[in-house]
């Protein structure tokens, strides 16, 4: 019975229609053309989208980075402006404008964690931090935290290089290992207890002073307090 319901539910959504580039074009004209030009050729406020590829469009739309409110600021992750179907048709339309990298396929279950760790350490941790918590890059740019990002978007960002980030041309397998390691970081067990922001010694020093030294000063005041009722005869030496 249950499976029948599921089958029926699946069937009602599933007629896996190919996303419609024409529908995508309508959305494009409404939401993107004012900056990127009527045919994606680029304009004063936005770069050309010809040949950026499905990976790029999918990344920017699914992480909510596009549409962008203020082009002078770094695009940040927010609620996507479009639903799944709309994103798919936009991706179909923009990738029809020219050849570009497709949406990569990732399967984190088959990823080699240790190989991914090495790639991450050599290529990513300088900006995104050893634990993927993000970091400041300078000139008003920052590398965002990777701890809330979906695996496919991590792979897309790696090959697309959004904003200030460089593009990385990894082999398919290496890319999968890397994404596997980042997903592992998102859910890494913290064997040592409470994790304090995963930014290293700055947070540790703060806790040492505020919680540790604070508690010990309070304890010293408690242990060394003057007791009113104790006999007032001082010993002298």
């Amino acid at each position: 019975m249950l499976s029948l319901v599921l089958w029926a539910a699946g069937a009602s959504v599933a007629p896996a229609q190919e996303p419609d580039p024409a529908e995508g074009r309508e959305l494009y004209i409404d939401s993107c053309a004012s900056c990127h030009g009527a045919e994606g050729e680029g304009a004063e406020h936005g770069p050309s989208l010809v040949g950026v590829g499905a990976a790029s469009v999918d990344f920017y739309l699914r992480t909510g980075r596009m549409p962008l409110a203020n082009e002078s600021q770094q695009a940040v992750k927010k609620e996507p402006a479009f639903d799944d179907a709309q994103i798919e048709s936009l991706v179909a339309y923009v990738s029809s404008l020219g050849e570009g990298p497709p949406i990569p396929e990732v399967d984190t279950a088959t990823a080699e964690l240790s190989a991914g760790q090495e790639l991450f350490r050599d290529n990513c941790s300088a900006c995104h931090g050893a634990a993927g918590a993000g970091g400041a890059v300078g000139s008003n740019a920052f590398a965002p935290s990777l701890l809330e990002t979906d695996p496919v978007q991590i792979a897309e960002a790696t090959i697309v290089g959004p904003g200030q980030m460089p593009k990385f041309a990894f082999e398919e397998e290496a890319l999968n290992d890397l994404v596997g390691y980042v997903t592992y970081l998102q859910d890494v067990p913290e064997p040592g207890g409470e994790d304090i922001g995963r930014v290293g010694p700055v947070a540790e020093g703060f806790v040492a002073w505020v919680a540790g030294m604070g508690a010990l000063i309070a304890i010293s005041m408690f242990v060394g307090r003057k007791r009113e009722r104790s006999p007032a005869e001082p010993d002298q030496a």
Partner: protein
Amino acid sequence: MLKWLDERLGAGHWARKGLKKVFPDHWAFLLGEVALFCFVVLVATGVYLTLFFRPDATPVIYDGPYRALRGQEMSAAYESVLRLSFEVRAGLLMRQIHHWAALIFVASIVVHAMRVFFTGAFRKPREINWLVGVSLLIFAIGMGFTGYSLPDDLLSGTGLRIAYSVMLSIPFIGPYITFLVFGGEFPTEGIISRLFVMHVMLLPALVIGLITVHLGILWRQKHAQFRGPGRTEGNVVGKAFWPSQVFKSTGLMLLVAAVLAALGGLVQINGVWAYGPFDPTAVSGPAQPDWYVGWLEGGLRLFPAWEWTLFGVTIPSAFVPGVVIPGLVFTILALWPFIEQRITKDYEVHNLLDRPRDVPWRTAVGTAGFLYMGLLTIAGGNDVLALTFNIPVEGITWFLRVALLVVPVVGGMIAYRVCKELQVGGDHPLRRRRGTVLRRTTSGGFEEVH
């Protein structure tokens, strides 16, 4: 039994006198004891860690339970820290207690030194003990830095590289010093074992020796005390060592150990597995040292990239913030009792302490110095601040450059004013009633009640 000992050692007289030693009654006098007990915890946990740590740079292939590093090449030192963290019973707990204790050890030394400074406890006859204390602070920082560098992870390797470069920046003799210390060009095979010898033998021996001298001098000179009824330059008013102070100190020691154990058990510190093994071609961000080295890092980050050429030798920009400024800071700190004596022309013996307000200019200088060091420490974490508060890192750097010149001066002036006002107002600032009491008069107006 006691008689038996006394007949052989003749210790009865000495012990009786010792047990009656008078300890003045003020909580601030316990801060040095907090540092001492942190050190006790450090030795205890450190011995445990030494049983499992291998100070060895030989490359090995990791085959332990931490999946994300399995199959990677790393030094035996790093591998042993991973084993200590994931396989040795209570190993991670001991590591974490040790690390928290190290951070809080230096913090409590700093707070203790501030108590001594702001109450003028370093004045004659205690100048020697001030010098011993400053040396202890320096050696404690040295122990901290060598310990931080031992695991041979990517973060601590970056710190060592900075230390190497700073040493190298010393004009003329820099290259010789770095080769002496590191045994070659960075990264060297031998540095981990050299640091290990420093960390577990030389520095602890020095620190234990100096603590003994510190307490011996304290015992000999007796405690300084705050002014109060019945207290003179010639006496000490308080409770005897036995039983009052013994129980207080024992309780304090247990509470210090409890706080450190709680932090070590509940809050993760320095998860070295996340950084990965040291690799000279990689660096991870944000890269900071432990807090007590943060001011040196901050100096390097704030100081402009100025390079001079002197007698045909380039003086790298790391020299001034990395060598000159810390040298000046510790020199002034160490010589402060003599500098102050020179200024005040006061060559008397002082066993009665000042309150900070009693000597406004000293309090102002101390406040300025504290703010200067504090700002440098903040600058050491400028990238973390930039990310946390979402402001550009260059903005923070420029703000701090200006603040470093302005804030200590203004802060010192404010401290001076506050001291002067307290001298007039009299009450302790925390106990003073704030605001004024108003009384409503029958005619509906208000008047102040004094």
